[in-house]
Amino acid sequence: MTETVLETTNLTKRFGALTANDDISLSVDRGEIRGIIGPNGSGKTTLFNNLTGFYTPDEGSIVFDGTDITEWEPHRIARAGMARTFQIVSPFRNMTVTQNLLAVEAPDSIEDKHARAREILEFLEIDHIADNEARGMSGGQQKLLELARVLMLDPDCILLDEPSAGVNPALEKRILDHIQELNDDGTTFIMVEHDMDVMRTIADTVTVLDQGQLIAEGSFDEVTGNDRVREAYLGREVDLEEVLG
């Protein structure tokens, strides 16, 4: 049985003459891992910003868990259960890992934030650096910290902006395993990712954006076989996997 957790209708965002998101309608099922791909500047991050309230769309609507959240502010959307990370890691530099987690406005259902934080750090296997200051940590550890912070929200749906970028392969695998594990427990993921291997292994469905428009949607193999997608990436017909994979 599938249930729609997130649905956008005719979502449009313009910056002056540029239409960064153009009439995007998409729907994500609960428990899905949705990949979003597209060349640079195709509107992926803008879409994230629209979904999480950092931008207010010019047209269209966003419904999350049956509620219209189009005009909501970011913090309200986060509290409603849709969380995100950023392309550039953004830990709170002058705090310890634990404090980073405690800062999160966790839902009321979490009674003991300290216990929850400990649990998450143990789950992500970074409890040994719980009292380290974020600014001294490696990029990979910071990525994990971001994921940990997001989990404090106990979200239904997590939007990840390039979770594996700049991370060594071992750590990348760890992150992906954690994502998989969380997904098995019912968390929905929407991921922007450039690494096509990652997409192939993890994504249930892939949505392709180009110049602000949704140009294809389907399984990884379906979309990479799509002519329009190839064109979008390279402007001519080549084997996408060969180039990017």
Partner: protein
Amino acid sequence: MSKREGSLPPRLESIVYTADGDGYDWRLAWGIVAVLLVAIPWLGAGTFELRILIGVLMWIGLAQSWNMIGGYAGYLDFGHGAYFGIGAFVTGIAMVSLSLPFLPALVLAGIFGAVFAYAIGVPTLRLKGAYFAIATWAFAEAMRQLALLLDITGGTSGLTLPSTMAAFGIPLPDLPRVIYLYYIMLVLSVGVVVLTYVLFEHHEFGYKVKAVRDNEDAAESLGIDATRIKRQVYVLSCTTAAVLGGAYAFYITFVHPQEVLDSMITAQMVIMALVGGLGTILGPIIGGALIFLLDRLSALYFGSDTMYISLMGLLIMLVVLFAPDGIVGLLTGETDASDIRSNLNSLLEKFKFQ
């Protein structure tokens, strides 16, 4: 390290160190400080010493109050002094025009400060960085000009407050007035410091504030209502400044716009918090005490030479250049000799014009 450990007799050690044998028990140090502060009027301190201590306490409180918005929240409030002045005037007006005793007047000052801060904070906090700094500064200057023009503030004449303890609000034994003023300032200043410590260092609220300072977008994405947090910090810090201003009015008994709304008041708060160490609990305490004592005592003892103004300037420059974490940074070892050396080297780099 082990040497030092062994140098204490075991009994003392059990008092000085925490139960798990690891690290110092800070509570002991603070306990001693607290007892000393309470006992000082009875340990031979005269009126002058108490006055100086009142000044020290007040400036620690003010520096800490600025530190909330400026240090912890990272908003350069250059109009903070306005709330000090507003608090002083509200207290003065309540005592003179409404004939209220000091205590209710002080409460009124706090309430008024809070309401005013909210009204100003809502539009002003939408600005960031230098824009916020200049806007708050313009606001504070406007307040000073306004106070010079209104009748209720006494205009250019200022207000003269009742100068006996009879106006305090509750009957008190007959002790020198300065002792009461000392305790009033002690309670308020320690209150501000403790409040800051609890809220900003030991409470989720503080983590949220720092989160908003370090990365507002990330904070928002984690459910933190940044706008609300900023307003809360602003109102809190402005209210404490207003309350301290109210106490100051009762202390000095003469309130004048050119003094309590002087832009130098804000400047001094900023310098103190910065020299001590921004966004730390100890910074404003050390910075406030040190800068106030340097400034006041040099004015009193070397008063006939204005050179000390330049030396203050030099001190500020040196701290910014070589110890940007402030004195706290030096004390905690965060800034050490090698940092200063590398700062010096990097400074010399900047002189390579070719």
